[in-house]
């Protein structure tokens, strides 16, 4: 069987999600034997022409140039998978969506004319059709392997869209919201990290974005009545998935203190 061609693309990001591929220390060589790494500049100089069977896209769209580049990537890819919070919801850099970027640049840059940037940071799916979105800031490398393996073999990826809470309990943590009165976004955040923060005695701050059917309103109401002030609530929703629709909407309710 001919090996499938894999390409890894980068847009505005910290590189962490694509580093996850190289972090698959135990599986990297097996993966490389199963798939042809055709384009992955972080790891190789080799560039094999498209079209590509699978494109992994990291990062968000923040420049006019990138908005065009992603169209090219789409055209060259049979299957496009966006990876990480940047690519699936605009990432931390989408915090700019809540301020006026142009004024902001003028205020900070000596030579604003050198800067090519859009007013907003947006997800890949806002620009082109995306076949699968893998969440996380950063993504979980085991989930990435699961997604790659599933697409190679025609399986539906086992990537549940339920809450962090469920994973929290599977992993044997006591709830930190209940036992420590910490603000925790676990009940409205999608699982995937292994419920790390509760295990480390802190509240979830939403790396994997909203879960299926998130009741952000009820959680925020309860937390602001019992645990935190409005400003803290606002900041909790304005993290790495600030621009995901439900977090964005909820954060706006707490903009005015």
């Amino acid at each position: 069987m001919k090996k499938k061609k894999l390409a890894v693309w980068k847009f505005a990001s910290c590189d962490g999600c694509q580093l996850s591929i190289l972090d698959c220390e135990d599986e990297l060589l097996t993966l490389a034997a199963q798939i042809e790494i055709a384009y992955f500049p972080e790891a190789t100089k080799t560039v094999i022409e498209g079209p590509y069977d699978i494109s992994l896209v990291e990062g968000s769209i923040t420049t006019a140039h990138d908005a065009i580049r992603i169209l090219e990537v789409r055209k060259n890819s049979k299957l496009l998978i966006s990876i990480g919070a940047c690519a699936t919801s605009g990432g931390i850099q989408a915090l700019r969506n809540y301020v006026k970027v142009s004024e902001y640049i003028n205020a900070v840059y000596a030579r604003p004319e050198y800067i090519d940037t859009l007013e907003t940071s947006t997800a890949i799916a806002d620009h082109v059709k995306v076949d699968y979105e893998l969440r996380g800031c950063p993504i979980n490398k085991y989930q990435l392997l699961e997604v790659l393996s599933s697409f190679l073999h025609g399986k539906k990826p086992s990537i549940p869209d339920h809450s962090v809470c469920l994973e929290c309990k599977l992993n044997g943590n006591p709830c930190v919201a209940v036992s420590r009165n910490l603000p925790c976004l676990g009940p409205v955040t999608q699982a995937g990290c292994g419920a790390l923060c509760p295990h480390y005695h802190r509240g979830c701050f939403g790396c994997y974005g909203p879960k299926e059917n998130p009741n952000t309103e009820a959680l925020a109401l309860y937390l602001t009545q019992n645990v935190v002030d409005n400003h803290t609530m606002l900041r909790l929703f304005r993290n790495f998935n600030a621009a995901s629709p439900s977090f964005s909407k909820e954060s706006k309710n707490y903009e005015k203190q």
Binding site: Q34, S163, L166, C175, H201, A218
Partner: protein, 368 residues
């Protein structure tokens, strides 16, 4: 309690019971203090058992506090139940190797030989409910059966129920009455405590015979009775299981479901901490070469969207319908399915709901 089955001992007696079971090769599970809560864990030496703690519970609230006495059981149930050992959160069902043209299947692991320490009567009843589900129906869960057959249950009566407990309503406590091997009753005597051990099975009797123990006196049995009465009368939460079962059949379209649906987060915590919730999902994990695959069982919850997914959409899309499924199943349909209520009155779902939703209060609202 028949006096011939009851004996008096102290902490050392329990320690030697622990040592005895260790020698017999059991993995021993019991309450431990971890991550700021009374959790369950495998105990490798007796002093790892939670000792000198009590807890404080309310809706969406839990704290542990040290107490001056060295009591082993002076707290109510924590977030975990022994369900996690008989019906683990994740379990490999089997693995397979080959290709679609030809493959072989290999069974997963077998359960260990276990002892459960300090099983409260509500949790004991919960185990009996799991028995009905996994052993007494049309099909048998082989792994559960094996785990169950080798199990030694050391129950404990509950001296200090929490504000969320209501086992007197469900008739499941606070004193374990049967289906244990040994029951421990911890009696506080000023700052000290002693233990009344009660045997409930042949296995239990054989174990007790090997310990240095004393006869129990009438006064000691009286103290036990008083302790149980006090515990029972301290529970303020109340409901009528049979009435609830009927009520829920008639209120499937009640507008209160919308109201509770607006508060519920569909986070699944309640189902995870419940000692009788048994729902699972299966996941196939296929290795990148495509030559090996594993099939895993993991706890699932009726609060998840995928749970009711059939081609074309989720049957239960709204949180309202998920909460209704949970509550009607637990408190009503369970009777049709397994002949009892699905609730043993442990109060965990109330304590561990991050927004403090109380199943009994919701029931009361439906009744209005």
């Amino acid at each position: 309690m028949a006096k011939q089955h009851a004996f008096r001992t102290d902490t050392q007696g329990l320690e030697s019971l622990f040592a005895l079971l260790s020698d017999q090769g059991y993995a021993q599970m019991g309450p431990v203090v971890r991550d700021g809560a009374i959790m369950l864990g495998e105990i490798n030496s007796f002093d790892e058992l939670a000792q000198g703690y009590t807890d404080e519970q309310a809706k969406g609230h839990y704290r542990i506090k040290p107490i001056p006495t060295r009591g082993l059981f002076q707290y109510a149930v924590g977030p975990q139940s022994f369900k996690q050992y008989l019906h683990p959160p994740r379990r490999k069902l089997w693995s397979t190797h080959g290709s679609q043209e030809k493959f072989t299947i290999e069974e997963g692991n077998e359960p260990e030989k276990m002892v459960f320490w300090g099983v409260r009567s509500c949790d004991l009843e919960a185990i009996k409910i799991l028995d009905r589900i996994f052993l007494e129906g049309a099909f048998v869960n082989k792994w559960y059966q094996q785990a169950r057959e080798q199990l030694v249950i050391i129950a404990a009566s509950c001296p200090v129920p929490s504000a969320n407990c209501f086992c007197t309503s469900t008739n499941t406590g606070p004193k374990p009455e049967s289906d244990f091997d040994i029951a421990i009753h911890e009696i506080m005597d000023h700052d000290c405590c002693y233990y009344i051990l009660e045997t409930g099975s042949h296995k239990g009797e054989k174990l007790i015979q090997k310990l240095r123990i004393q006869k129990v006196s009438e006064e000691e049995l009286d103290s036990l009775e008083r302790m149980i009465e006090k515990a029972a009368s301290s529970m303020e939460k109340r409901f009528e299981p049979a009435e609830a079962a009927d009520l829920l059949k008639k209120t499937l379209e009640h507008k209160h479901w919308d109201e509770v649906g607006s508060r519920c987060l569909s986070c699944a915590n309640c189902t995870m901490v419940c000692p009788t919730c048994f729902c699972t999902s299966t996941e196939d994990i296929t290795e990148i070469t495509g030559e090996h695959s594993e099939r895993w069982l993991r706890w699932d919850s009726c609060f998840n969207g995928d749970f009711s997914y059939i081609h074309g959409g989720k049957i239960r899309d709204s949180t309202r319908s998920r909460y209704r499924q949970w509550m009607t199943h637990k408190l009503s349909y369970w009777y049709e399915q397994f002949g009892t209520s699905g609730c043993v009155g442990c109060g965990r779902c109330i304590t561990w709901c991050p927004v403090g939703i109380d199943i009994i209060e919701e029931l009361e609202a439906l009744a209005r």
